[in-house]
């Protein structure tokens, strides 16, 4: 997970139904301030660690405001249901049950990767949100 951290999206994208399970998992540490997985702080935040408490509060407030996308409880159901549908179709086509999670696991890394690219470097919508 540490090595693949660059593929994963910030926490605010975790509301996507098939990512939410990972995002809500207690076994994966996510930095609430930076959205970086594995709990690593980015350098701007680490640089401000020694600053005054008022500045920290301000910074935390801004960061909390960024992650305002709600994660609905039904997304867990959608994760399971979506995977079961894919499993059913694939096995009916003749794919062994063990191959299906590997295939779709590798496949879903791609949209996560592309979403991360678009979230960081893509359309101007994300940039506008910070204005």
């Amino acid at each position: 997970m540490v090595m693949l951290g660059f593929l994963l999206v910030p926490q605010r994208l975790a509301a996507v139904w098939w990512i939410c399970r990972l995002a809500r998992s207690k076994s994966i540490s996510i930095s609430k301030r930076t959205g970086i997985w594995c709990g690593c702080k980015s350098d701007p935040f680490r640089a401000l660690d020694g600053q005054k408490p008022s500045e920290k509060r301000c910074l935390n407030g801004l960061a909390e405001k960024r992650f305002d996308t709600p994660i609905g409880p039904s997304c867990h159901v959608w994760v399971v249901a979506g995977f079961l549908i894919l499993l059913l179709i694939s096995t009916r086509l003749g794919m062994p049950v063990m191959v299906v999670p590997i295939f779709f696991g590798l496949y879903f890394l791609m949209p996560i990767f592309i979403s991360r690219v678009q979230a960081e470097l893509g359309l101007c919508v994300h940039g506008l949100s910070g204005l």
Partner: protein
């Protein structure tokens, strides 16, 4: 997976399924999910209903599927698929998919050791870039740049 295990590791049904899944797994430059996320982000910014947006997207998926199949079949039957009216952008993708399947079935491959080696080098390089990017604010090379450098879209820039 073919690089990792080779086509010998899979039965014929699995290879056929891989070929049938080629329509969403061929390339990822037109992947719908990032665009949908952008749409949801924009709807959130203007306080629009995300549920209505999702419903509209799902409706368009169903409608466009029927329309596109109808248009293709209608044109093929009217003019003939091999008549010269249709180029590689309409016929080539199917030919590519099933020619590849034919190769998998007729010429089974084993694990591509060289390919795996280069995949490992790529993973190691990008992991290093990620580590450096996360630790040093001044570090200029983004790990995504390395991953995207060989992409077809980048070659057109």
């Amino acid at each position: 997976m073919m690089t990792w295990m080779g086509s010998k590791a899979f039965n014929k049904e699995t290879l056929v399924t891989f070929a049938l899944y080629g329509f969403f797994n061929r390339v990822y430059r037109s992947h719908p999910m990032p665009h949908l996320l952008e749409g949801l982000k924009m709807s959130g910014m203007i306080s629009s209903s995300a549920q209505w947006l999702l419903s509209a997207v799902l409706l368009s998926v169903v409608t466009s599927r029927v329309v596109v199949f109808w248009v293709y079949l209608d044109l093929y039957y009217r003019f003939g698929a091999s008549s010269g009216y249709f180029g590689p952008w309409t016929l080539g993708f199917g030919r590519e998919t099933f020619t590849r399947l034919q190769n998998w079935l007729h010429f089974p491959t084993e694990t591509n050791q060289t390919g795996l080696l280069f995949m490992g080098i790529g993973l190691l390089t990008d992991s290093t870039l990620t580590f450096l990017r996360m630790r040093f604010l001044w570090f200029p090379l983004h790990p995504l740049g390395y991953a995207m450098a060989g992409d077809w879209g980048m070659s057109n820039l």
